[in-house]
């Protein structure tokens, strides 16, 4: 039995050397695979935690690309919406200029008809602009959801224009902006929010006081031109108007004048007016009197009793040479106050009233009312337009943030799985030298044997 501990079996010696050579060769080829693929982590078992980190970084990069693509679509939609609003503002400003010129008392009715035709065409263009869609067929001003053409009208019923959709604005978040604007906020009016009312004067028949009489009577010939206009209606801020559940609009009011009498002593007129409303909850106040109405002068009176609204009338009764007094206001004159459903309604009402105005007083009434409400509409459109501009700025900021994040994620991914080329090449060369040394020593040791020296 052998107790020598310094013995080694020849076959085992060769086997061990072969095993070491095999190990070195495998390491060399693994390093080569790393170098050619550029990755330190080729398989998950090389470094499971880094493999998972690299995978997660790839996921997030793909997601940022998706979000950016969506942002481009949204940005296009908002840019188109903003330019549509720009077009709309241009159209409304042209309409405004026409309305200003329509208030000129020297125009004839055929000239007013021409203006009203131009206004009509502007209003048609405005409706088309408001109903524009983007490249995917979605309405640009569709708010939170709408029909294919969100602005319906002119309709025969009340209200005459409808926003067929859900009003409201979608919010932006850190990676996206909305792709529609709130069209209801841009073009539609709400009585409580905007206080847009239209006062239309219907002329009565008892418009003269014959010489010597004290009460009104119907003139023998044609109706005279009378100067009775109202100021734009101002609404008490914060006042909540009752809404008609059938139409969704505020109720309308009417102020009717009656009992116009002449006081021969002071040579002034007095008139009474009553206020009624379609609101079943409205309690009509008692009849109120306007006095004194000086003949031949411009008189201004405030009309009280219409809840939430205040306006003045300007009345100029005249006395003819023969003593006939043309009344203003006259018996049967009614001021009808109705809410405007939308900016389109305002222009439509102006078109209709200008075309039908028998005299310049009514024409200037129509133009004055329309101008005040058009200004309200322009303010709202301007608000929404600047909101759209802010959204576009936000999209730019989001793009900047996302590209910074992309760069960071790419750096994370690279750190997790890419090979440091310098280190990789130096490791590879070390392994190469080691492998060469092992091969050389194998061939040299193999030559040494006692058998070489025996006989």
């Amino acid at each position: 039995m052998n107790n020598n501990i310094y013995r080694v079996g020849t076959a085992n010696m060769y086997e061990n050397t072969l095993r070491n050579l095999g190990t070195r060769q495998t390491n060399l080829s693994n390093l080569q695979e790393n170098l050619t693929s550029g990755k330190r982590v080729v398989r998950a078992s090389d470094d499971p935690v880094s493999a998972a980190q690299a995978e997660r970084a790839l996921n997030r990069l793909a997601r940022i690309q998706t979000e950016q693509r969506a942002l481009e679509t949204q940005r296009n939609a908002i840019a188109q919406a903003e330019s549509s609003l720009g077009d709309a503002v241009g159209l409304v400003q042209e309409a405004r200029q026409l309305l200003v010129s329509a208030g000129n008392a020297a125009l004839s009715s055929s000239e007013r008809a021409t203006i009203s035709n131009q206004l009509q065409s502007l209003r048609d263009q405005l409706t088309a602009v408001a109903n524009r869609t983007d490249t995917n067929g979605l309405p640009l001003l569709g708010a939170l959801g709408s029909a294919q053409s969100p602005f319906l009208g002119p309709l025969g019923s009340t209200p005459d224009y409808l926003f067929a959709g859900q009003p409201g604005q979608a919010a932006s978040n850190g990676v996206a902006i909305p792709n529609t604007l709130d069209g209801d906020a841009a073009f539609m009016f709400d009585a409580t929010r905007d206080g847009s009312f239209h006062a239309a004067i219907t002329q009565g028949t008892g418009t003269v006081i014959a010489p010597g009489a004290t009460t009104a009577s119907v003139p023998a010939g044609a109706q005279p031109n009378r100067a009775l206009t109202t100021s734009p209606i101002t609404v008490t801020p914060g006042f909540v108007f009752n809404e008609d559940p059938a139409t969704g609009q505020a109720y309308s009011y009417s102020v009717s004048f009656s009992n116009v009498t002449l006081n021969p002593a002071t040579n002034t007129l007095s008139a009474t007016y009553n206020i009624t409303s379609t609101d079943p909850a409205f309690v009509p106040p008692a009849a109120q009197t306007l006095t004194p109405i000086k003949i031949g002068e411009k008189n201004e009176f405030s009309i009280n009793g219409v809840p939430g609204m205040a306006f003045k009338i300007t009345a100029t009764p005249t006395k003819a040479v023969d003593g006939t007094i043309t009344l203003s206001p006259a018996d049967g004159d009614t001021i009808g106050i109705a809410p405007n459903a939308s900016l389109f309604s305002v222009i439509d009402k102006a078109v209709n009233e200008l075309r039908a105005a028998p005299n310049s007083s009514l024409a200037s009434q129509a133009a004055g009312q329309a101008l005040a409400n058009v200004d309200k509409g322009l303010e709202r459109m301007g608000n929404i337009r600047s909101f759209a501009g802010e959204l576009l700025n936000r999209a730019d900021r989001i793009t900047g943030d996302q590209s910074k994040r992309s760069i960071q994620l790419e750096a994370d991914r690279s750190r997790a799985e890419d090979l440091d080329m310098i280190k990789g090449i130096s490791d590879f060369q070390n392994q190469q030298v080691g492998y060469e040394a092992a091969l050389k020593s194998y061939s040299m040791v193999q030559k040494l044997s006692l058998f070489n020296f025996i006989g």
Binding site: A44, L138, G142, P245
Partner: protein, 657 residues
């Protein structure tokens, strides 16, 4: 005369020594060969008046140099190395299925989810919907093909096990035969070196397949025992091993090693007692590693599929129909057992799944424990009714027939989900991109409320999603429909919820309002931003209410909700988009640790082998030295004979005339 004898004896002895050295040199590269040395013994001296005169040398025996302890240790280390290396190799194959990068299954899942973003931006675009559905089909196909590859690996593992067992049985038979020969040869008085070498080599080969304990018997045979106590070879009798389905869980795919004693039913061997050997490594791979891989893949399929199905079924298609499921998934999976109990498992909460198999262990016929096999966590239950109320990791276990005490039932809830997942929706119009509800701000709103998000969640379920009532303008007063939130600026800012049916009912009052926090009512959820004025309202209506017309066709709220599933945590704190990355890490860690242990056991085995051959291996230089030594002795002995002859010649010459 005696000198001639001494010389002749010496010559013969040295000749034997030379032949033995030559035998060693010839067998230098034979595996399992133990070197033999000649043991010389001096012949007893003859008694004479002048003392005991030596009679020369004799060969006592040819000694086989080997260390019992080192041989046994080397065989065992080789066994452990075989087990670790086969498991590491198979795990490397398994890892290939879970590969990452831009062509991996994870990238495919994320592409499918990200494609929904195009649908969100253009809900009426049929092309975008088509892309989403195509990608869903592709993801399902890739899951199926990954599951197919898993099945292939299992098939090859089973085949390898079968052929290994065949080899084990044949080796056992051969060892038994050699045992008999050795027992017979023992009677001759000398040890049969070559037979012993042959038997040691066979035992070493057997250890590569399955680790055996060696107990030598008195008659020279060696008994081999498997799993500590089962006699594989006793004397000249060998017993057969076989591979079969686990007897406790028939049909579950778990494999076990069986010991087939003749005349007795096969006894199942616990694989934890097997120790090393490639059979043990393969069994461990099949029963644990492969099962984990299948569970990870299956959980991915179930989690993604169930969540997407649930969201799709809340939304509206382009035709105004409620969405149909996107993926086909199993509704329940049966439990396998060999006892009387019958049960199945159903899937309830798709965000709570754990990638594990489950076992029900009965303590009595109706009560017991549900054990999660991945980490041993146990949940007790007292009866089948009690069990049906428990939700364990998003699963519900139903026992339709009671079991017997001590019975075990194995459930593999995720084993077939990935192999059978199919995409069910092909028509782009059937993708339910639209929300079943819509929101409208009041036109009189003066605050800065904006809509952050609106989606149907269906939680809590029951009752699930309850749609707001439709408007009914025919009634007096007309019912406005929808659910209205009215805000009060405060501070603190609160809101009330009114259900505007006819008659209207109040659902909630004075709820605190936090911008950006989701408000969850009746199975839908709304998020608002900005601050309201007192009296501001938001109305949530039924999208199919006729008053809204076809506005739902241009709505992509449900597609946004599907997109939002990317960030839902459903795989142990990983979100949907990161689920695959964590599966890669899990399989990779397993593979890495298997590779490390394979390397370690490889080093140990080669060290022990070197130690063994240090005793019993042939060293050519040593044999060359011995050749010279014995050649010299032979020459000296031959010279001795020559001298003896000379003496005889001189004697004869001196006596003759």
């Amino acid at each position: 005369m005696s000198l001639l004898n001494v010389g002749a004896r010496a010559l013969l002895a040295n000749q034997v020594a030379l032949q033995t050295a030559g035998h060693n040199i010839a067998n230098v590269n034979t595996t399992g060969y133990s070197r033999q040395t000649v043991v010389l013994q001096t012949v007893q001296g003859q008694f004479t008046g002048g003392g005991y005169i030596g009679q020369g040398v004799d060969v006592q025996t040819i000694l086989r140099n080997q260390n019992e302890l080192l041989t046994r240790q080397a065989a065992q280390a080789g066994s452990v190395q075989a087990s670790d290396s086969v498991r590491a190799e198979r795990l490397r194959q398994l890892q290939e299925i879970f590969s990452g990068g831009t062509e991996g299954l994870g990238a495919s899942i994320n592409d499918m989810m990200n494609a929904l973003s195009d649908v969100v931006n253009s809900p009426t675009d049929i092309t975008a919907r088509n892309v989403v559905l195509t990608r869903m089909d592709e993801t399902a196909a890739r899951m199926r093909s990954s599951a197919e590859r898993l099945n292939e690996i299992q098939y090859t593992v089973t085949e390898q096990l079968q052929s290994s067992i065949t080899a084990v049985n044949s080796l056992a038979t051969q060892i038994a035969a050699v045992n008999e020969q050795i027992a017979r040869a023992k009677g001759n008085g000398q040890s049969p070196n070559d037979l012993l070498d042959q038997r040691d080599q066979l035992i070493r080969d057997l250890n590569q397949y399955v680790q055996v304990t060696q107990i030598p018997a008195d008659d020279g045979t060696v008994g081999l025992f498997v799993a500590g106590s089962q006699p594989l070879v006793l004397g000249n009798a060998a017993t057969e091993l076989s591979i079969g389905d686990a007897s406790a869980f028939p049909g579950s795919g778990q494999l076990k090693l069986f010991f087939n004693r003749p005349g007795v039913p096969p006894s199942e061997l616990d694989e934890n007692m097997l120790g090393g050997g490639s059979v043990s490594g393969l069994l461990r791979f099949n029963n644990t590693d492969l099962a984990e891989g299948r569970n990870l893949l299956g959980r991915l399929a179930m989690g993604i599929g169930m969540n997407m199905n649930a969201q799709q079924q809340l939304g509206l298609t382009l035709d105004g129909q409620v969405g149909k499921p996107l993926f086909s998934l199993p509704a329940s999976m049966p439990g396998s057992t060999n006892g009387a109990g019958v049960g199945n498992v159903t899937f309830t909460d798709a965000t709570q799944f754990a990638a594990s198999d489950y076992e029900i262990r009965f303590t009595t016929g109706t009560a017991g424990q549900v054990v999660r096999l991945s980490d041993g966590q146990a949940t007790a239950f007292t009866s089948a009714a009690n069990l049906a109320t428990l939700e364990i990791d998003g699963l519900q276990f139903n026992l339709t027939t009671a079991g017997v005490p001590g019975e075990r039932m194995l459930f593999k809830p995720f084993s077939t989900a990935a192999a059978n997942i199919e995409s069910l929706v092909y028509s782009p119009r059937d993708l339910a991109a639209a929300n079943p509800i819509n929101a409208a701000m009041g036109t009189a709103n003066g605050g800065t409320l904006q809509l952050g998000s609106l989606k149907a969640t269906g939680e809590p379920n029951p009752p699930g999603l309850v749609l707001p009532p439709n408007a009914n303008p025919a009634l007096v007063p007309p019912a406005l429909g929808g659910v209205q939130l009215t805000f009060n600026a405060g501070p603190p800012t609160t809101y009330d919820v009114l259900n505007r049916a006819s008659p209207a009912t109040t659902l909630l009052t004075a709820q605190p309002y936090v911008p950006g926090a989701p408000i969850s009512i009746n199975g839908w959820e709304i998020t608002l931003r900005g601050s309201p004025n007192t009296g501001d309202t938001v109305v949530i209506g039924n999208a199919l209410d006729p008053q809204y017309g076809d506005a739902y066709t241009r709505n992509a709220g449900n597609a946004t909700a599907l997109l939002g599933l990317r960030d839902v945590k459903m795989f142990d704190e990983s979100t949907l988009s990161d689920g695959y990355a964590s599966a890669i890490a899990q399989v990779g860690t397993r593979t890495q640790s298997a590779l490390f242990s394979a390397k370690l056991s490889d080093t140990l085995a080669s060290n022990l082998e070197r130690d063994r051959t240090a005793v019993s291996g042939v060293n050519l230089d040593e044999e060359a030295a011995r050749l010279i030594q014995y050649q010299q002795a032979y020459q000296a002995s031959a010279k001795m004979i020559q001298i003896a002859q000379n003496i005889f010649d001189s004697l004869i010459q001196g006596l003759g005339r």
